[in-house]
Amino acid sequence: MTAGRRSLAISRALLWPALIVAILLTQIPLVATLYYSFQEWNLLRPGQRGFVGFDNYAKVLSNGSFLSSLGNTVLVTGSAVVGATLLGLLFAVLLDRKFVGQSVARTLMITPFLVMPAAAALIWKWSILDFTYGMANWGLSLVGLPPVAWNTELPAATVIMVLIWQYTPFAMLILLAGLQSQPREVLEAAGVDGAGPFRTFTWITLPHLRQYVEITVLLATILLLQVFDPVAIMTNGTGGSKTLSYLLYERAFIGLEVGEAAAYGVMTVIVTIIVAMVALRTLFKVFSEEGLMNR
């Protein structure tokens, strides 16, 4: 068995550099966050720094910011993921057909996902959603609708809109791959048996797509949980758009309360660990079903 052992040692040698880097870069700050969370430390009051035990946590739990931001995160992430997945499915079905310019259309469709989020947020804010000169209100005026004060009346919705715009291509690409992996003769057999396109879609295609939808939802959720750019650029956290990422940023760099911000950070980590556990279980299951885990 020496050969096997040697081989095991080699594997570990290959694995460790990546693990060490990941541990250094993610765990050290985490430990430090924990340490700071027990300190009273306002950057603008350098003289009054000290250990305060769980005071910061008491503060964090007693004012409603954490829970409301958690709710906002769920709402913003949830609606964006659902919206992007549904629209992505629609576009995937449309683009799965053979038609004139299919590949050009697909190329154009994936672009929003490639656009730098900061640029997307700025362009949406100033070019599309501006009250006076924005294309959205101009479009509304063409069909005789009154203009909307997007930023005042619907801040959270504007963030969700931009996120859906950016992540629909992401969902579409995965779901399109799913559609194209359908065994054709099953579809054709269904056609021969007299099932209409709608029935074929709901009975055969949708069940087949299930695992692709799961992957889409999971990956989009991972990416969107961190959402910060459009909130910082478009709404500054007003009207239900203050997600956890933005709250943490605000506590740390506007509040300048290092200790309190760290306590918020620790709370967020705890919540995300719980979410991650559940999500990862599912993720592993999805990937196992794919047969990748068992190879």
């Binding site: 694995l15 985490l30 259309a105 730098m116 362009i123 599309i128 065994p183 750019d229 620790v266």
Partner: protein
């Protein structure tokens, strides 16, 4: 077209179904209608990008108008203005942080993924679980210690440190993707190489890498995109010398007079590298986005 869904190779062909002429004609009309609908939907989705690029070529006085100006005097003046305001160093910073971090990530991720998929490692789940769980954590949660630690080592406003942080951000994704790609390499090929007495180096470089080259490209592309578009860390940890493009874009929103076309020009410049890369490497993009879950 050959797919391997559910582990079963399936060969499919698209056959024009034989139909009665009348029904065929009505199908054709429906097909054309569907194509038109598809194109309208795609163009609507692509519109913000078109509008941004179009606005970038307008003079400032025709950018924010009501109704919108559709036949402006086209000019390259605003692009010139972007570079006059010193955009180039930021683009160079973005490029070096993105390329540098991507190369480092691949150098770490490929061996690790190799150990996790091809070579025998007991307990594949723990390191994988750990890696991907770091991806769930909002970066914002530990931003204060990151800031303080960088301050202590003189790493603020420093492109090398920003690059290193991007390695931490992208490493988990890359390991996941590479693991999936490597798992597709037929076991027999590797075993054959090992029996032939090939060393580890030959095994990796001569046998396995050529097979997963498209996968490496996919992982690299995704890491590059994420690094190029990253806003949060760049915004907080750099000020001038190491500032990258995303946080700079906001400074084109100017208090003195009109700014929409210069903002559009800056955003256009900022998104071009990634959009072109994504268009060219669409296949890789699909595989990469699904983290290798879709073949």
């Amino acid at each position: 077209m050959t797919t391997t869904t559910l582990g079963m190779p399936v060969t499919t062909t698209r056959k024009a179904p034989v139909r009665k002429p009348a029904r065929w004609a009505s199908r054709r009309v429906r097909g054309i209608a569907l194509t038109v609908v598809t194109w309208i939907a795609v163009l609507a989705f692509f519109f913000p990008v078109v509008w941004m690029v179009f606005t970038a070529f307008k003079p400032e006085s025709q950018a924010a108008t009501l109704p919108p100006t559709f036949a402006p005097d086209l000019t390259l003046d605003r692009f010139q203005a972007v570079f006059d305001r010193g955009m180039l160093p930021y683009l160079i910073n973005s490029a070096s942080a993105s390329l540098g971090s991507t190369l480092l990530v691949l150098a770490l991720a490929i061996p690790a993924a190799y150990a996790l998929s091809v070579r025998p490692v007991k307990n594949v789940r723990d390191p994988l679980f750990f890696l991907i769980s770091t991806k769930f954590m909002p970066v914002a949660a530990s931003i204060i210690p990151v800031y303080m630690l960088l301050q202590a080592v003189g790493g603020l406003d420093n492109i090398t440190w920003l690059t290193i942080l991007y390695v931490g951000v992208n490493l988990p994704i890359a390991v996941w993707m590479m693991r999936s790609f490597l798992a597709e390499v037929p076991r027999e090929i590797i075993e054959a190489a090992q029996i032939d007495g090939a060393g580890l180096r030959t095994e990796i470089f001569r046998v396995v890498l050529p097979i997963v080259l498209p996968g490496i490209a996919a992982a690299g592309l995704i890491c590059f995109i994420f690094a190029w578009n990253e806003f949060f860390l760049a915004n907080l940890l750099t000020t001038q010398v190491a500032r990258t493009t995303p946080p700079v874009l906001g400074s084109f929103v100017d208090g003195r007079g009109q700014f929409l076309s210069v903002l559009s020009a800056a955003s256009t410049i900022a998104i071009v590298p990634v959009v072109i890369a994504g268009w060219v490497a669409q296949k890789q993009l699909v595989r990469g986005l699904a983290m290798g879950a879709i073949k």
